[in-house]
């Protein structure tokens, strides 16, 4: 990208990239409007008990969100930046790897869809294996085995020991 000659839109694009935090302000603003509309369209005549009804706090929170969205926008335009969080396994010098994140979110959603028809042991194993694969593990001999054992043991502990029911699915019906 940097090799390309400067187009008129390039300056604008890099300005937007530098100020992507304004998107956070937009989201806060949207959330504030959402909370406020919900509170204002609430039908409270019959249910009001005591001096403070169910609307007061949502109105305060919604209003607060609008104010904070504006304050944050001012801070960003003045050059303030939220510092990205560091960590033991976090390398902030590299650009964000969106492929892995999208893949992980997709795998998670897939497991959520599968959990009822296929049962927890199968969906859980696929979730673990898929996530490990997305994160760069390529041990085809070891990964599925670990995933299957982890999923079965967890199913057993929760379903049998802790008394938290998880769907067994057709596989558990056969075993």
């Amino acid at each position: 990208m940097s090799l390309r000659t400067q187009e008129p839109s390039a300056g604008r694009r890099s300005w937007l990239r530098d100020h992507s935090e304004l998107g956070v302000c937009g989201l806060l603003l949207a959330l504030g409007v959402l909370v406020l509309t919900d509170a204002l369209t609430m039908d409270v005549d019959l249910t009001q008990r005591g001096p403070v009804g169910p609307r007061t706090v949502p109105l305060a929170v919604g209003g607060g969100l609008l104010v904070i969205a504006v304050l944050l926008a001012v801070d960003v335009l003045r050059g303030g930046r939220g510092r990205a969080e560091g960590g033991e396994d976090v390398d902030l010098t590299e650009p964000a790897d969106w492929r892995t994140v999208t893949l992980l979110a997709g795998i998670f959603l897939g497991a959520a869809v599968l959990i009822e028809p296929a049962g927890f042991p199968v969906a859980g194993a696929l979730l673990f294996w898929g996530a490990a694969f997305a994160l760069g593990s390529r041990r085809l001999d070891r990964d599925p085995l670990i995933a299957a054992v982890l999923s079965l043991v967890t199913y057993g502990v929760f379903d049998q020991l802790l008394g938290v029911p998880l769907p067994g699915g057709p596989l558990m019906g056969v075993l």
């Binding site: 609430m42 005591g50 001096p51 992980l104 979110a105 998670f108 670990i146 802790l162």
Partner: protein, 494 residues
């Protein structure tokens, strides 16, 4: 019954074979979690919240407290051997501990840290026994306005003391409060922010919010920036201390807790500030000033002792006032809510078995931790070699289990992912996660107390400030809010 009798009674609870087992499991998990990169104690307790559906409260809290203390022990191992502290409490341990490990004195650094944690935890917990009943007595007849004032204090403290940006802290708090609004209004049954979905009528479960923000958000964030080729830990033998080391460290072990404990009890960020203060103090008092920065053992001993004592201080505020001062305390408060128990001054009267069993189990846990950590440190250090894909895949896996266990609903998993993506965005743009979690946990309770207080005073706002207790709390809040201004004035006058 005085505190000592209650404590003895508590040992009766803590020393039953089953509760000993939970304490042992807690400290084992805690140490592992402290050593493992990427998992903090808050995430660990959040991931374990689903066990509250199957366990009785005493057992669950004994385990959670074991995790909290254990993670403090384990966290310093990572700092010393890898120089990449995961928990903010362990940052200081890396400053002197890692140079020691590089110079071949890793065993001594680990021993100084482990004994420091033991001493700090022990002294801190003794202070907890001495002070907590007194605080609970002082606050025993507080009412709705006082509870509301305390919760406002928690909101203000968590947004304005922690983190670098107040605006971002407040934004995070408001996101949390907005999530907390979802569901039926507790007093009138009015639907709020449910958009007609039946599944949202019960609100978004605190477990899902905590797991989403702490676990899914963290896993996705690390996945986006995963360090290729993780650093190799420095190999180390069994921890031990020579006579000269002990002579240099024992005072530091004893001084640390008196810095750590008070900072843990106030909402000032847990162990981060006191460990640093202890480091600075030990440096000033040291007879070997030249060694600092190259591996001075006092610089490991003091801060680590302060860190564990701050965990005990945190429990004082949480148990006596229901005021969470750290992320772990916030998640433990969520666990209390799962059981329908309200932490606060009445907890010591209503649930003496739970409170004193928990406190006694802290002493038990500390002994177990020392026994686990001194001889087994090299074994724990091997956990650092775990392949990162397995680690983060495992976090996603257990997060899914936990969220599904809440109600057996697929829609909860989708909400979990959405909240996880919110957590991801918050990490990217430097919005602290803790205020949002506190907002979700305390928001609904704060609203109820506010409305109750105003109902009593018949709508008059003076009803919120008509007790000495609430006035004191609001004075503290005012001080917190004006602190940066005052600081600026003082600096200008100098």
């Amino acid at each position: 019954m005085n505190a000592l009798d209650s404590l003895l009674h508590g040992f009766g609870t803590a020393l039953t074979p089953l509760n000993l087992l939970w304490a042992a499991l807690g400290v084992l998990l805690g140490t592992a979690i402290g050593v493992l990169p990427g998992i903090g104690p808050a995430m660990a307790v959040a991931l374990l919240l689903p066990v509250t559906y199957g366990l009785d409260p005493v057992a669950a809290f004994i385990m959670f407290a074991g995790i909290y203390y254990g993670a403090m022990f384990g966290g310093s191992t990572t700092s010393i051997l890898l120089n990449t502290p995961g928990e903010s409490a362990a940052v200081v341990a890396a400053m002197e501990g890692n140079p020691m490990a590089k110079a071949g004195r890793g065993a001594q650094a680990l021993a100084a840290a482990a004994i420091g944690h033991f001493a700090g935890g022990l002294i801190g917990t003794i202070l907890l026994v001495a002070l907590a009943p007194a605080v609970a007595d002082l606050a025993v007849d507080i009412g709705a306005p006082d509870y509301f004032a305390l919760m406002v204090l928690a909101f203000i403290a968590v947004t304005s003391v922690l983190g670098s940006s107040r605006v971002r802290g407040l934004a995070s708090l408001l996101i949390g409060l907005a999530i907390g609004l979802v569901g039926l209004d507790q007093m009138t049954g009015q639907q709020r922010l449910t958009f007609g979905f039946l599944q949202l009528a019960d609100g978004v479960d605190v477990v899902i919010v905590a797991v989403g923000l702490f676990a899914i958000g963290e896993a996705l964030w690390v996945a986006a920036h995963l360090r290729r080729g993780a650093a190799e830990p420095i190999p180390v033998g069994r921890p031990w201390l020579g006579r000269e080391d002990v002579r240099r460290t024992w005072k530091a072990w004893l001084r640390g807790p008196f810095i750590g404990f008070p900072f843990g009890a106030i909402p000032a960020g847990g162990a981060e500030i006191p460990t640093f203060l202890s480091y600075v103090m030990e440096k000033r008092l040291s007879k070997h000033p030249r060694e600092w920065g190259k591996g001075a053992i006092e610089g490991v001993a003091g801060p680590e002792s302060a860190a564990s004592a701050s965990a005990a201080g945190t429990l004082v505020s949480m148990l006596t006032l229901g005021l969470p001062t750290t992320a772990v305390a916030a998640v433990m408060l969520a666990a209390f809510q799962q059981y329908g128990i309200q932490p606060g001054p009445l907890l010591f009267e209503r649930e003496p078995d739970l409170v004193w069993g928990l406190i006694a189990s802290l002493f038990v846990g500390m002994v177990l931790l020392l026994a686990l950590n001194l001889p087994l440190a090299p074994l724990w250090a091997r956990l650092l070699r775990i392949p990162r894909p397995y680690l983060y895949a495992g976090i996603l896996f257990f997060a899914a289990v936990g969220a599904y266990a809440v109600g057996g609903e697929v829609v909860d998993l989708v909400i979990l992912l959405v909240i996880g993506l919110v957590g991801f965005g918050m990490r990217r743009y430097g919005l602290p996660v803790l205020p949002a979690v506190i907002g979700v946990i305390l928001g609904p309770a704060a609203e109820q107390q506010l409305r109750r207080a105003l109902q009593i005073s018949d709508g008059s706002v003076t009803g919120l400030v008509d007790t000495p207790f609430s006035i004191t709390v609001y004075a503290v809040i005012a001080l917190l809010l004006t602190w940066p201004l005052l600081g600026r004035l003082v600096r200008r006058n100098r």
